[in-house]
C-alpha cells in the first residue's frame, strides 16, 4: 500500500482493458529480455511515515552542532520567520519552471524582484534568475567573459579567491583551451601590481574576490580602467551580506558581479541549496547564462512577467547556448528575495554593520587578550584570519571540546596554504558572551 499511488485494482484492470492489454507486464514487453531486470532491487521494502521519520530523525541527531565561527562561504545568520513561512507556500515550492507565464506570475514576479535586488546590491544593470552556487557562478562568469570578448584565451584570477572556486574553475576550463593564470597575493590581498604584467589582448577577464578567502577587503582602485584598456572584463565576487556596507562591484567598475546568497535567509544546510548570483553591465545581457525574467504585457495590456531571451538557452540553442544550465535554484532565490524584503534597506545596513562590529570586537579582543595575531593587517568585514603559533586544525580541535567551532583551518580548503591559518567568521548572531568564551577557549588551546 503506497499513499502516493492512487490506483485501485479495479481501476488498473479497467485501464488495461481500455488500452487493450491483459497485464502491466505487457506494457514492458518492449524491453529486450537480455537486459530486462529480473528479480527485485536490493532495497528494503517500503515503510510507513513513522518508520521513515524515525530513521531520518536518528540521522539528524547523529550530527552535532556548536557555537559556530565557521564561514568560508557559508554563514550562520538570522533567518527571519517570514522566509520559512513563505517558502513553505506550496504554490511556490511544488510549481514547475514558469514556462507558462499565465499561471506562473507568482514565481516570475518574485524572480524579477530577485533580479532587481541583485542589480541594486551590486550596482550593476542586469541579473539573472540564479545559478547553482557562488563557485559555479565564477565559472559561468569567466565563460561569459570569454564569450563576450574577442579572441581571448586567458582568465586571470587572484590567489585570494576561495580555493574551492579556484578548483571548480580548473575543472570547468581544463578541457576548454582556456588558460587560467593565478595572480599572486601580497599581505593577504591581491597584489594588484601583478595584474599589469599578465594583461594582454588575449585576456578575457580577471576574477577577484572581496572579502577574499582570508576575510580581507581588497582595493580595486584603478583596476577596471586598467582591464578595460585591454578590453578585458573585471569580475568581482563578493559575499552579498558584505554589500550592505562595503563597496559594491559596480562601484569598483566591475563588469560582472558574482557571489553566493546563502547569507540571505538560507540555512547553512551542509552547503546547499544556496544560490549563485550574477549581475553584469547592460551590454552583457544577451550573453548571460541561465534563465532571465523580463517584464512585458499581456493581451489586455496588463503588466506581466515572462522568461525572456530564451534564445540564449540550451533548449533553443543547444550546443551553442551560453551555458548548459536548465534547472537553477529558483526557490532559494525566492528565499533571498523574501529575506531582503523583510530586513529591508535599513535592516541590511544594520546587519552588515553589526557583522563588522562583532568581527572587529572579537579580532581585537583576541589580539589583546589572547595574544594571537592576524595573518595580515588588512581591513575586513565579518571574517578574519589568524596566524596561530600552532596548527590551526589542532587549535580548532581543542576548542571543539568547549562547544565551539572555532573557524576554518585554511589548509583544509587548500593544502598549499600554511597550516597555522584559521579563518574566523563572526555574524550578528554571535553574542558578546560567546565571543568572550571564544577568547577563553583559544587561550586554553594555545597553552
Amino acid at each position: 500500500m503506497f499513499p502516493y499511488l492512487p490506483h485501485t485494482d479495479k481501476e488498473i484492470k479497467e485501464m488495461l482493458s481500455d488500452i487493450g492489454v491483459d497485464s502491466i507486464d505487457e506494457l514492458f514487453a518492449d524491453i529486450p529480455a537480455k537486459i530486462r531486470f529480473k528479480g527485485e532491487l536490493k532495497l528494503p521494502q517500503g515503510q510507513s511515515e513513522l518508520e521513515v521519520y524515525t530513521r531520518l530523525k536518528t540521522l539528524a541527531e547523529n550530527n552535532q552542532q556548536a557555537v559556530s565561527f565557521l564561514g568560508a562561504g557559508n554563514y550562520d545568520h538570522i533567518i527571519p520567520s517570514t522566509v520559512g513561512a513563505l517558502m513553505g507556500r506550496t504554490e511556490f515550492y511544488t510549481s514547475y519552471t514558469p514556462y507558462q507565464p499565465e499561471i506562473s506570475q507568482g514565481v516570475l514576479q518574485a524572480i524579477f524582484e530577485f533580479q532587481t535586488l541583485m542589480c541594486e546590491l551590486t550596482s550593476l544593470q542586469v541579473s539573472n534568475a540564479s545559478l547553482y552556487d557562488g563557485h559555479t557562478a565564477a565559472s559561468e562568469a569567466c565563460a561569459l567573459a570569454v564569450n563576450s570578448t574577442r579572441k581571448t584565451d586567458t582568465i586571470l584570477y587572484s590567489s585570494t579567491i576561495h580555493p574551492y572556486t579556484k578548483q571548480v574553475l580548473e575543472t570547468y576550463f581544463e578541457d576548454l583551451k582556456i588558460k587560467l593564470v593565478e595572480l599572486p597575493e601580497k599581505e593577504g590581498v591581491l597584489d594588484t601590481d601583478s595584474v599589469k604584467a599578465q594583461l594582454g589582448d588575449n585576456v578575457a577577464g580577471l576574477l577577484v574576490q572581496s572579502p577574499n578567502i582570508y576575510g580581507n577587503l581588497e582595493d580595486y582602485t584603478g583596476l577596471s580602467d586598467l582591464l578595460h584598456e585591454h578590453k578585458s572584463l573585471l569580475i568581482v565576487s563578493s559575499n552579498p551580506m558584505a554589500l550592505g556596507a562595503i563597496k559594491s562591484q559596480g562601484e569598483w567598475g566591475a563588469d560582472i558581479a558574482i557571489g553566493d546568497t546563502q547569507p540571505f535567509g538560507l540555512p547553512a544546510y551542509y552547503g546547499g541549496p544556496s544560490v549563485g548570483y550574477i549581475a553584469a553591465t547592460e551590454k552583457l545581457l544577451r550573453k548571460m547564462p541561465g534563465r532571465i525574467v523580463g517584464q512585458s504585457v499581456d493581451e489586455d495590456g496588463k503588466r506581466a512577467f515572462v522568461l525572456t531571451l530564451q534564445a540564449r538557452e540550451q533548449h533553443i540553442k543547444r550546443e551553442r547556448a551560453t551555458s548548459n544550465i536548465c534547472s537553477n535554484q529558483a526557490l532559494a532565490a525566492l528565499g533571498n528575495t523574501i529575506y531582503l524584503a523583510t530586513v529591508g534597506k535599513e535592516g541590511l545596513k544594520e546587519l552588515a554593520e553589526q557583522n563588522m562590529q562583532k568581527a572587529h570586537y572579537l579580532a581585537e579582543k583576541l589580539q589583546k587578550e589572547a595574544g594571537v595575531k592576524l595573518a595580515a593587517d588588512q581591513p575586513f568585514f565579518n571574517e578574519f584570519t589568524l596566524a596561530l603559533p600552532k596548527k590551526a586544525a589542532d587549535i580548532a580541535g581543542a576548542m571543539e571540546a568547549d562547544g565551539i567551532f572555532a573557524g576554518v583551518p585554511l589548509n583544509q580548503l587548500d593544502a598549499s596554504k600554511p597550516d597555522n591559518l584559521l579563518t574566523v567568521a563572526v555574524t550578528e548572531k554571535r553574542t558578546v558572551e560567546e565571543m568572550d568564551r571564544y577568547v577563553q577557549s583559544i587561550k586554553g588551546a594555545l597553552k
Binding site: 490506483h7 510549481s95 541594486e120 523580463g294 533548449h315
Partner: protein, 488 residues
C-alpha cells in the same frame, strides 16, 4: 481588492522609513563602519531595497503565490519533467534542524548523520541504476551531464587517448545534452532517429571512429519509447572505444524493470527532482546525482563520501579525480527528500511507481490518439508525444493554442515543441501519482479542445482568459528587455 493594492512589485510597496525586521540590540561597542575600515572600501550607493513591514511582506508574497499553479493544485501532464506529487513527509524530514543547521566545513565526526545519509543514498541509487558508485554533488540534471562528460574526459586522458573529441547526441535529445557536451570541450555530432522514433543504428555506425568519445542517450527516449536496439548500440559504441552516458531524466519509466548499468551505460545522471519526488521549487533547486560503473569510479569528483569501519567520511584523496565540480557537496536538502522518498517507497514501491506511470501514459495515449495525431503509435513508457501539425493545417490551431487552452481549464500545459523531431510536438507525461479520474478529466478537456478546434478555433486563440494574466507578449520582452524594476 482595488488596483491600488494589487499587482505591485515589492519595491512599489515601499514607504520611506518603514521597517519589517528588528535587528537584535548590539552587544558590543557601536562603531561606525568608517571607524573600522577605510572609507574607500565602503559602499556609497544607496540601494532601493524595499522598506516594508512584516505584514506587507507576508501579504505581498502570499498574494503572489496565489497567482501560481503547482502540483498541489492539479495535474501537470508535462513531458520530460516527471511532475509527480511531492510527498509532505519529505518536507518534514528536510526541515529537521539536525540537518538544516550544519555547516559544510564542520568536523566530519560531528557530521556522521548526514554523511551516512549521503552514503546510503548513493548506495541505493547505484542499486536502482545498476552502477557502482557516484556523486551527489551536481546541482541539477545539466550539471550532472557536465559531470558525466568530465568522466569521459578524465577516462580518455588517463588512457592518453587525446583524439576522442566527439560526442554523439540523438536529434531527439534534450537541449542540455549537446550544451553540456559542448561546454565540456567536446564536439557534438547529431545522430538521427529512425522511422520508429529510435536511434538509427545505421546512422550511428557512420560515426564510430577513433574520434568517438561516446554517446549521450536517454532510454526511454524523449518520445517515451524504449530504445529496442540499446543492447546493440552499447556494444557498438564500446567496441569503437567509446563510452555511454545515460540521461536519467526518464528513469521514472523503468525502476525495477531495466537498469542503465545492465543496458551497458558507463555513467548515469539522475534527476532526483523528477524520479525521486523532490519538489521543483518553481525551477529549482534539484539534484543531478551521477552514478558510474567501476571503470569510471577512479575519476569521481572530489570529495566523495566513503565508509571506513563504522565511520563515514568525505574522501578528498582521489588521485585521478576530475576535480571539484561544486563549492560544497550539492543540494543536501534535496538529497534528504529523495532519501526519504526511497525509504518510503522501497523496492516494491519504486517498481510499482514505474508500472503505474507507464500504465497512465498508455491509457492517456490510447484515449487521445483518436483526436490528436500520434506520430509513433506503439506501446510507450512513461510519456508519449502527439503532434498538433494536422490541427494546425486544418484549423490553424497549433501546439501553443492547445497548451494555452489547457490553462483555461485549470490544467498545466504539456511540454510543447520538444522533442524537435516531431512537428508541433506536445509531450505528455502523466506520472504515477495521477488518479484515474484526474486522467479522465484531462481526456475530457482534451476532447473539448479538439471539438473547439474544429468548431470555434478563434476561441482557442483567445485562451486563456480567466488566468491571472492572459497570453504574454514574448517578442516585446525579448526586443526591449526589462529585467529589473527601476525607481521612477
Amino acid at each position: 481588492m482595488s488596483t491600488q493594492l494589487k499587482n505591485k512589485l515589492i519595491f512599489e510597496r515601499s514607504r520611506e522609513g518603514r521597517r519589517g525586521f528588528r535587528v537584535p540590540d548590539l552587544d558590543v561597542p557601536a562603531r561606525k563602519p568608517e571607524e573600522m575600515v577605510d572609507k574607500k572600501y565602503l559602499r556609497v550607493n544607496e540601494t532601493v531595497l524595499p522598506e516594508v513591514s512584516e505584514v506587507d511582506v507576508i501579504r505581498h508574497y502570499t498574494r503572489l503565490s496565489q497567482k501560481n499553479y503547482c502540483v498541489d493544485l492539479g495535474f501537470y501532464p508535462l513531458g520530460s519533467c516527471t511532475m509527480k506529487y511531492n510527498p509532505k513527509i519529505n518536507e518534514v524530514t528536510a526541515a529537521l534542524p539536525g540537518f538544516a543547521g550544519m555547516h559544510p566545513l564542520q568536523p566530519q565526526k560531528t557530521a556522521q548523520g548526514i554523511l551516512e545519509l549521503m552514503y546510503d543514498l548513493t548506495e541505493r541509487l547505484c542499486e536502482v541504476t545498476g552502477m557502482s558508485w557516484g556523486t551527489l554533488q551536481p546541482f541539477a540534471g545539466a550539471h550532472g551531464e557536465f559531470t558525466g562528460m568530465k568522466f569521459f574526459k578524465s577516462y580518455f586522458k588517463k588512457r592518453g587517448d587525446f583524439g576522442r573529441t566527439k560526442v554523439l547526441v540523438p536529434d531527439s535529445a534534450h537541449g542540455t545534452n549537446p550544451a553540456s557536451a559542448h561546454i565540456s570541450g567536446f564536439d557534438v555530432v547529431e545522430v538521427k532517429s529512425n522511422e520508429k522514433g529510435m536511434v538509427s543504428v545505421e546512422d550511428l555506425k557512420q560515426h564510430l571512429d577513433e574520434n568517438l568519445a561516446g554517446i549521450m542517450l536517454t532510454n526511454p527516449n524523449t518520445l517515451g519509447l524504449y530504445e529496442e536496439d540499446i543492447g546493440e548500440i552499447a556494444e557498438l559504441v564500446h567496441e569503437a572505444g567509446g563510452l555511454l552516458y545515460y540521461d536519467g531524466a526518464n528513469l521514472n519509466a523503468i525502476m525495477g524493470k531495466s537498469r542503465p548499468g545492465d543496458m551497458g551505460f558507463d555513467v548515469v545522471h539522475l534527476n532526483l527532482h523528477k524520479t525521486f519526488s523532490t519538489p521543483h521549487g518553481g525551477g529549482g533547486p534539484g539534484s543531478g546525482a551521477v552514478m558510474v560503473n567501476k571503470k569510471l569510479e577512479p575519476f569521481l569528483p572530489a570529495p566523495t563520501v566513503r565508509k571506513r569501519g563504522s565511520e563515514y567520511y568525505l574522501d578528498h584523496d582521489i588521485p585521478d579525480t576530475m576535480g571539484r565540480i561544486s563549492g560544497f557537496y550539492g543540494n543536501i536538502a534535496v538529497l534528504v527528500r529523495a532519501y526519504t522518498y526511497i525509504l518510503t517507497m522501497g523496492y516494491d514501491g519504486l517498481k510499482r511507481a514505474s508500472e503505474l506511470a507507464v500504465l497512465n501514459a498508455n491509457y492517456l495515449k490510447e484515449k487521445l490518439k483518436g483526436r490528436y495525431f500520434l506520430p509513433y503509435d506503439r506501446v510507450c513508457k512513461h510519456e508519449f508525444v502527439l503532434s498538433a501539425q494536422k490541427m494546425k493545417d486544418a484549423y490553424g490551431v497549433n501546439g501553443t493554442d492547445v497548451a494555452k487552452a489547457l490553462l483555461e481549464f485549470g490544467i498545466h500545459a504539456p511540454t510543447v515543441y520538444f522533442p524537435l523531431i516531431v512537428h508541433e510536438a506536445m509531450m505528455f507525461e502523466p506520472t504515477e501519482t495521477e488518479s484515474r479520474e484526474s486522467l479522465d478529466n484531462f481526456i475530457e478537456v482534451m476532447h473539448e479542445i479538439a471539438d473547439l478546434a474544429e468548431k470555434d478555433p478563434d476561441k482557442l486563440h483567445e485562451m486563456p482568459t480567466s488566468t491571472p494574466v492572459r497570453r504574454v507578449d514574448q517578442v516585446q520582452a525579448a526586443k526591449h528587455p526589462v529585467v529589473r524594476w527601476q525607481p521612477e
